[in-house]
Symmetry: C2
Subunit: 467 residues, 2 copies
């Protein structure tokens, strides 16, 4: 049976429905619209019902695993009895272990930042890493991990809880960016690396860089933060809220317990479509797609029609089975909660210490927060003045005195340049005299850091190699 | 039975599931998350299954109806055997019928722009209309309609097709902004108004104003376009694409044939959440919500948690049963297709004329486009140079020589100021020497036109009353 015939067979139900409407339509004022985009969702649903294996687990291969055997207490008081971190490295660690650079990923990034013998596929920062490149593997030992909470080898909601033998799903504890960074430092301990030459990241990776530099200043030599922020702005929270709502509204989501059934592929596709709109900018799409249509000889349609629509449809279609929905929820929530303010850091540390001191199993139904944070949280949540917010942020980065590169992109709507200036500002006000601030007039919005190797790459290289 | 008890009853299924997980959780590493936002969606689904009546039909009352008894051929060749337009008026038509102003609405606007005896509820432009106000009812006769394709009294997909006795659903023909404007001019004909003093609109209303001024120049005395565009940009198409996909992915959508069942309330809620993010701007939310949380004494949650999230959740919750999903699809698609370029206007006119000349019922399955537009569309869809695009736009507005006010808002991401400048630019290049262009440094993004009566109102009043 040909592939086309297979598709026809799968699509039978939808086609029968359309056929019966066509029969009626001879008396209607107009024929019914066709909905090929819905036909495709239904067809994928049928495919997935036939084969329940999650596909995201096969997306990335060839990584190494660090296995942490001790319990790990999260900032919000949840506990992981043990965890794995998937990582990949490029270049050679020098004899005094002083040339290691940690590359932190964005939300859905894997450890596969660059190709290597065990996985020849190009990585997500392929052109930024290598001999002579921005992250020069002739000079540096580059490490990239899949974050805690991810689904590309590191422990996340799709992993098995050793205490039950079942996947965590939404019994996974709430995570923070600081939890991700602390897990990475456990890996570095295991590698015998006490101090990074530099901590480098963009988007959520920039949050991790800033967090590492501010909270572990003795372990970070230089800081690179690209298109990130010192605290998530309500607008970026709103954009991620829309994605999470789309995901959780999918009937297949089943409150996160979907691993034995069909993944919430429709919700994931919608979430990715919204995300892609926030990752790119208008100017690029104007040049690339303009108002051109996919099939100009066809009449306009409610399903994807303009090239920009088919592009978004294709992008989100590709992604929807490549990343675990629960990881998206947890990691995107960690981004929302990111705030480098001193008061927030102190509160989380208190919570973590209290949870670590408590030997009992957390009480049920408390949504992964097991200490009384009423007072502290009430304090942090009252309406603060801009001056108070700034003071708290400046205090939060007072130990980040490393040479720092802060880079923003003017067409970025998710992490606007205002937030980039804020990072540079608080570092400088905290006394850091080695802060470089660049603003790029680039076309690609937030995703510029993935694409613009000429401008972004050169800025990183200059910062890393400048004496 | 108390309201709370009723809610408990509705929520039983979800709670049982959670209760059984709680029992298990004593051996899990962490307790499961709670999902009150999903509980609410499920509760509303059960409510709606008990009462199938669409509620949007009751949202607006007290309008008048214009009944057009002749067939109306749409730009894309579809046909309406007849149509209604809901409208409301304020002020008094003068003896020579020269003081009428048409206010055009945005996507989901009703004719209820201002309160009156038959409907005392404040209208959507309550403070802009009235004695002495921006649209001064001591001087002007103000008319507002619900657009063709809407669901607040005018004929739309939720209306009954007189040829079948059933609701159109997605057998409704594809509409354009020009179709909406032509329907409004039929109403004006019926009122004996040959020429408007002014055509005023914001967002899609601005598209209608520009369309009216350019295509019916002899019928429009002055033009006001606020936060609109001369052609939809791929970025705004992308933002509406995400909304339509969310809507169509709702299993209740059923390809538009949901009127006898449950409305796609989940998809509508998601679509509105995305829309609200595009309607407002970051600066306002920073001031209004900052990073404050709904219940700071509670642990963080995956469901709405930050105030910005509960705000969006509440906004979209309110909307999801107040507007017909099919109207959203058709009207938002009309916005995507809007392009005042001469080549587009000419092509649509040719199509309409060919369809009108054809007496036969349109063939089934051709998605409401019944003429061969292959050549014309192919021409229009090739990649054009910026110069060609500008020339085509300038030619498209060559007859719009009325005094024109073009107003944009710097924090608008849906219709950015670049697009406002483009409108002013093409009008001026077409020889219009009476173009006023204002740019507002306002906080509210695209929605500024609904809120900022001081700045927007004054600009309109000055333009309308300036000799």
């Amino acid at each position: 049976m040909s592939r086309l015939a297979g598709f026809r067979l799968l699509a039978t139900a939808g086609r029968t429905q359309i056929a019966s409407r066509r029969f009626l339509s001879s008396i209607k004022s107009n024929p019914p619209m066709s909905f090929p985009c819905i036909d495709r969702l239904e067809s994928r649903q049928r495919d997935l019902m036939a084969g329940p294996e999650p596909t995201y687990e096969k997306v990335v291969t060839g990584y190494s695993l660090y296995k942490h055997k001790q319990p790990f207490v999260c900032d919000h008081g949840g506990v992981l009895p043990q965890f794995d971190i998937a990582y990949e490295t490029w270049g050679t660690l020098n004899s005094d272990r002083s040339n290691a650079i940690m590359v932190h990923t964005g939300l859905s990034g894997s450890s596969h930042a660059h190709s290597h013998d065990k996985n020849m596929k190009p990585g997500w920062w392929e052109k930024f890493i290598g001999p002579g490149r921005a992250l020069d593997t002739n000079k540096f030992f580059v490490i990239c991990t899949n974050v805690l909470g991810g689904c590309y080898g590191s422990t996340g909601p799709g992993s098995v809880d050793p205490r039950t033998g079942e996947r965590y799903a939404t019994t996974f504890p709430l995570l923070t960016v600081n939890d991700m960074v602390r897990a990475q430092f456990h890996l570095l301990d295991d590698m015998g690396i006490s101090r990074l030459y530099a901590s480098v990241g963009a988007s959520m990776g920039g949050m991790q860089s800033l967090c590492a530099a501010a909270l572990f200043p003795e372990r970070v030599g230089r800081l690179v933060s690209i298109s990130a922020c010192a605290r998530s702005h309500p607008y970026s929270i709103a954009l991620r809220f829309a994605q999470r709502q789309a995901l959780m509204a999918d009937p297949n989501f089943n409150r996160g317990f979907y691993y034995d059934g069909v993944q919430p592929h429709v919700g994931m596709k919608l979430a990715r479509a919204v995300a892609t709109v926030t990752y790119r900018s208008g100017p690029e799409w104007e040049l690339r797609f303009g108002r051109r249509r996919r099939a100009p000889e066809q009449p306009p349609a409610l399903c994807p029609d303009f090239l920009i629509e088919t592009y978004l449809d294709h992008q989100s279609e590709r992604f929807c089975l490549q990343y675990d929905a629960n990881s998206l929820l947890y990691v995107s929530k960690a981004m929302d909660m990111f705030d480098i303010s001193q008061s927030v850091t102190q509160r989380l540390q208190t919570q973590r210490e209290q949870a670590a001191a408590s030997s009992s199993t957390p009480p049920a139904g408390t949504v992964c927060m097991h200490v009384n944070e009423q007072e502290a949280a009430g304090e942090a949540s009252r309406a603060e003045t801009s001056d108070e917010i700034m003071e708290d942020l400046v205090a939060g980065v007072k130990n980040a005195q490393q040479p720092a590169l802060v880079l923003g992109v003017q067409s970025d709507i998710l992490f606007p340049v205002k937030q980039q200036k804020e990072i540079a500002d608080i570092l400088r006000r905290a006394g850091n005299s080695k802060v470089t601030y660049y603003e790029l007039d680039a076309l690609y919005g937030h995703d510029t850091f993935l694409i613009d190797v000429v401008n972004v790459g050169a800025a990183i290289k200059g910062h890393l190699e400048n004496a």
